[in-house]
């Protein structure tokens, strides 16, 4: 699939990170990360397991607090927001979890309704149903509406997880390892879905992955996280044309395995 040229507003950074540091106990995971993500862009963060990729998007969504540095999302400094303000910001930032994190005691319909009902209490049943059907249709899983998460395949769970975040119509989507643990064909379907979501809902996305195919298919820009900092940023070809040994070994490992 050949990606179309998209309108990315390079003057409008929706996420701006300066000097971000985060440690767990004595283990420093992020050591002064600087990053800007522009309106309408799909940014892929690549890196080996344990390099702090997921930590980065958890800090962006306010799930973790930074030890140092400044994280601005849609013009608001995440660590200085009150609980109420953070809640309001989270309505604009969707988070798709690595293992989907579907509520396993609820059906697909209840999973999708949950954020909507809780954040739009004035909505009528008919409107809720329409929203649920709309996002399920967007991820191509209308037939699963009354199923339990345990009855779904890994790929279906990922799609429902994405649908659950889309129901709040977020401006930013954060994908944590969207293709991890999936077969190659389902990976392609998820990559296409990420692009379709971006196109339909006009979202800005950060995609965390170590899957180079996913990075190539979905990313407008790639940022490589190495040793707690972004070592290199650019298009897929620019990044992997780098002579940096760590980048080359990452590329070679992915494509020779």
């Amino acid at each position: 699939m050949v990606k179309e040229q998209k309108a990315i507003d390079r003057n409008n950074a929706v996420i701006s990170i300066k000097g971000l540091k985060k440690a767990f106990g004595d283990l420093e995971v992020l050591r002064g990360v600087d990053l800007e993500v522009y309106q309408g862009e799909n940014l892929v963060v690549l890196g080996r397991s344990g390099t702090g990729k997921s930590v980065l998007i958890k800090v962006i969504s306010g799930l973790l607090l930074p030890d140092a540095g400044d994280v601005e999302v849609l013009g608001e400094s995440v660590e200085h927001l009150s609980t109420r303000e953070l809640m309001a910001l989270r309505l604009k930032v969707g988070f798709s979890f690595q293992n989907s994190a579907l509520y396993d005691s609820m059906t697909v319909r209840q999973n999708l309704e949950f954020p909507l009902v809780r954040n739009s209490r004035s909505l009528r049943r008919r409107e809720i149903n329409r929203e649920v059907e709309d996002v399920l249709d967007a991820v191509g899983l209308s037939q699963t509406i009354e199923q339990m998460p345990s009855e779904l395949s890994g790929g279906q769970r990922k799609r429902i997880g994405i649908a659950r975040t889309l129901i709040l119509r977020p401006e930013i989507m954060l994908y944590d390892e969207p293709t991890a643990g999936l077969d190659p064909i389902t990976c392609i379907e998820i990559n296409n879905l990420i692009n379709e979501v971006q196109e339909k809902y006009k979202t800005t996305s950060i995609i965390i992955t170590h899957d180079l195919t996913c990075a190539k298919e979905t990313g407008d820009r790639i940022a490589m996280l190495l040793d707690g900092q972004f070592a290199i940023q650019g298009t897929f070809d620019e990044v992997f044309a780098s002579k940096d040994e760590r980048v080359q070994s990452f590329y070679n490992y992915n494509f020779t395995q």
Binding site: T83, F95, F97, Y103, F114, L168
Partner: protein, 268 residues
Amino acid sequence: MDPNTENPNITPRKYVISKKLDSMFFGIYHAYQFVLRFFREVFVPPYEFKEIIHQCYEVGYKSLPLISLTGFITGVVFTNQSRPSLANFGATSWLPSLISIAIIRALAPLVTALIAAGKVGSNMGAELGSMKVTEQIDAMEVSATNPFKYLVVSRILATTFMIPILVMYTACVALMGAFLSVHSNEQTSFSMFFSQVFDTISFLDIFSTTFKSTVFGFTIGVVGCYHGYNSSKGTEGVGRAANSAVVAAMFLIFVEEIIIVQIVNAFR
């Protein structure tokens, strides 16, 4: 590999007293913060009425069969065990009084609280622990829902409301069991048995039992939710959360029992 020595990013950890004592004091402080957070959030809207009612159903209604059985057996066994001692003094006519005091003041709250700690506390620990390790709690948080209020506050309120009701129910069932035993051995009538029961118990007994069971309910909810909400280390952590919830709740129930009995006796 020992991460403290091999990994250059990790410096050896220092403890204030010792590893175990540090973690114990940290745990107490953490639990204190958890309870404070409950009181901070419980009065602030939005109120999760639907979830509270759902949890009341889970805690109360679903515990009824087990509570009924154990309450009934407690009444029968306690009566049968007490009879020979009273018979030695020719005082079997005091059985209803003895039984009512024992059941209302001690057995009903304790038996109910211990059963609930086992059933409800472990369930809460495992359920929230499982939600924590599968990131369902984080998923709630990022979808602009306060998971503490939705999951924890509603559960603690449910146990705090429902345990006193279950205790009253257990007392009734245990007294019925005791009556059947007394009736079949001493041919005491229903009205005679229960008039003696109600003559013996005072307002202070009812009040202290209700107060005690409210404290037990709050404890079961807090301990179950605390261990589940703060569980870690994958599926092993879920099992540990459920286990710790039961053990800690049972221990605290006995500690609270002895403190409340001393306070109530001071008023008697």
